[in-house]
Subunit: 345 residues, 2 copies
DNA sequence: TTTGGCACTCGAAGAGTGAGAGTGCCAGCC
DNA sequence: GGCTGGCACTCTCACTCTTCGAGTGCCAAA
């Protein structure tokens, strides 16, 4: 539906706008990018493109600003092509991996790295999948009234909760409870076993039923929801950008970043399918991104869903940002079996 | 060294400045606060006070702005008196406590509450004391090459680390290692046992020495440093304040909040003694607080040091903020044995 | 020692102006 | 028919000038 020339004009406008932040005029386009077409011709094309919704004018007699539709076109064109990996970034990630941190920690370090390199807010998240399998349950007795409940999930994912019992619970009792739970539930997807387990326990283990019931509801809360754990870094990075001297826009994004609930909804919505996704804030007012864009790389494997993302201004350097995210993401998962947080070296 | 009247003038200037944010003129002082003294007299006093360093003029023919010296005077006068507790705040905290969360979680909730009420950034931190006693060490075997190392410290403080072993480690071996460590080290302050333990282990447990040595260095890193764990909330709160429409100041504080290292240094420096401390940023340029002030409430008990704090603009409502912090802090620790994160109800 | 009065200072806000960038449209050219 | 150069028009931005008001400092009188 776009002629080749119109496409070229849109791309040039987006490119120029990303690099200057100012409305783009026909003359500068003709001079810098499309030297074979005159400014007047570009003006005509621009009028059409404006009608089609790719660009707008902040006011008469100003240049054109790309709309989210144009950004989408631009981003898709980048995603289609191949990006060059930054070998420097890959090296620095390798350094991180040598520090033998666990996977979650590595994820945090990676996001810090990303944030510094791209001058955006980086976001890392991991969540157990709903259908994750329960490996086993274990109690670590702390004193007579307290125990640490460890839920070991598939893929070495561990959730834990300190439990307070209303009555004395000996180590032996706890071990026995854990043994019984494991006999029934180990190896099964948690959402399948949960209900059966609860009724079983409440009926069979009458002598310790009160504590058991308590423990059960706790376990429930631990894994039942597909809750992301979030790590964000680099808020100060976006303050450096010339775009956000105006506080109002910052407020929106900071509220979003501090509100795990909203953040979780946003991430779940836009990282639904594995791989790299680009969300342009103004494309969907309900995203909560406002005048920001986000990139998400996500992957579901053995029990966990992992997301690594960037949040930056709509006119961020997508090419660089996408390349950086891909480089880091691939670095995280490369060496085959190293994925899923394996710690072997 | 200040006459009674000079003192009154300083207090009135600070009070008015806190509530308006504008330089305070002699006329409005005479009208609003010191009705028995004429503006001309106040002008004379102001000239003296300026010489003494309590107030400054942003430019000739503007009102006076209090300096950190004046703020300090004001804050001290508040701390001397008694504040009224907000019963609403106390009630909301009680609600939180009923949710049976562990102490650290409760601390986080409390700080969120504080942030909302005072419109400042709230900061919660907890750290094991250097001389904390080791209760015991436990390994939870995950698979042949991985185990979760749990270090149980005095006061139910738990540190943990996922360990990767370079060779197979059976559950029995791990239990044996833990048993030996516990025999020697349990009940002793960690910094005392550490060195002896290391040499003991490296010599005695030769057959599993490589893994042991690894485990030991990990334990070391877990407790050796007095590392605060930080939780901050409410960054978006300070964006609402009229003072910080200027990005530069925000940048300083956001960098500080995102840099755990610097934050830790700052907190350690200003919450050295138990109780409530007020830091006025401009009083000490090295604080990193810039044009912000901070309140810290801190307490060291059975193994942990806990800090709850607020960071707000220098001209924050200290009276309200101090009262709020005190209310929440007392709420956290009241009911005697409920302190230290006891979970009984 | 305190007070009223007066001249002076300075910044904030508003109006006016010119420069510059950009557009839309028209008429001519390939 | 599509492309281009030219021209009139529009709108913002930055700058200057002016006015207004709040506030001071100082002096002389009570």
């Amino acid at each position: 539906m776009l002629t080749e020339r119109q496409y070229a004009v849109v791309m040039a406008i987006v490119f120029e706008y990303i690099h200057t932040g100012e409305p783009v005029g026909s003359r500068s386009l003709s001079k810098k990018y499309l030297t074979r077409i005159s400014a007047a011709t570009i003006r005509n094309e621009m009028a059409d493109l404006e009608e089609m919704g790719f660009i707008t004018q902040p006011h008469t007699s100003a240049g054109r600003v790309p709309t989210s539709k144009a950004f989408r076109l631009y981003v898709d064109s980048i995603l289609e092509g191949k990006r060059q990996k930054s070998s420097e970034l890959a090296d620095r990630l390798l350094d991180l991996k040598r520090q033998r941190a666990d996977f979650e920690q590595l994820l945090v370090y990676s996001s810090q790295l990303l944030s510094r390199v791209t001058h955006t807010v980086a976001l890392a998240a991991s969540a157990p999948l709903a259908q994750v399998r329960l490996e086993r349950v274990e109690f670590v007795s702390i004193d007579l009234y307290h125990a640490l409940l460890l839920v070991v999930l598939q893929g070495r994912l561990i959730h834990q909760k300190m439990l307070a019992f209303p009555c004395e619970m000996s180590r032996e009792t706890l071990d026995e409870i854990a043994r019984r739970i494991n006999t029934i539930a180990s190896g099964k997807p948690w959402d399948e076993v949960r209900d059966g387990l609860r009724t079983f326990l409440l009926k069979e283990l009458d002598e310790v039923s009160e504590s058991c019931r308590l423990a059960m509801t706790e376990i429930d809360g631990l894994v039942s929801a597909e809750n992301f754990r979030f790590f964000t870094t680099g808020i100060h990075q976006i303050l450096k950008l010339p775009d956000f001297q105006d506080i109002g826009r910052l407020q929106a994004i900071l509220s979003l970043l501090e509100e795990e609930e909203a953040l979780s909804r946003m991430v779940r919505r836009y990282s639904a399918k594995d791989g790299l996704n680009v969300v342009i804030g103004s494309e969907d007012p309900e995203s909560g991104l406002g005048s920001f864009s986000a990139l998400f790389s996500s992957y579901s494997g053995k029990g966990t869903r992992t997301v690594l993302g960037l949040i930056g201004p709509v006119r961020m350097d997508y090419e660089k940002a996408i390349a950086a995210l891909e480089t880091v993401w691939d670095g995280l998962y490369e060496n085959g079996n190293n994925s899923e947080g394996r710690l072997r070296d």
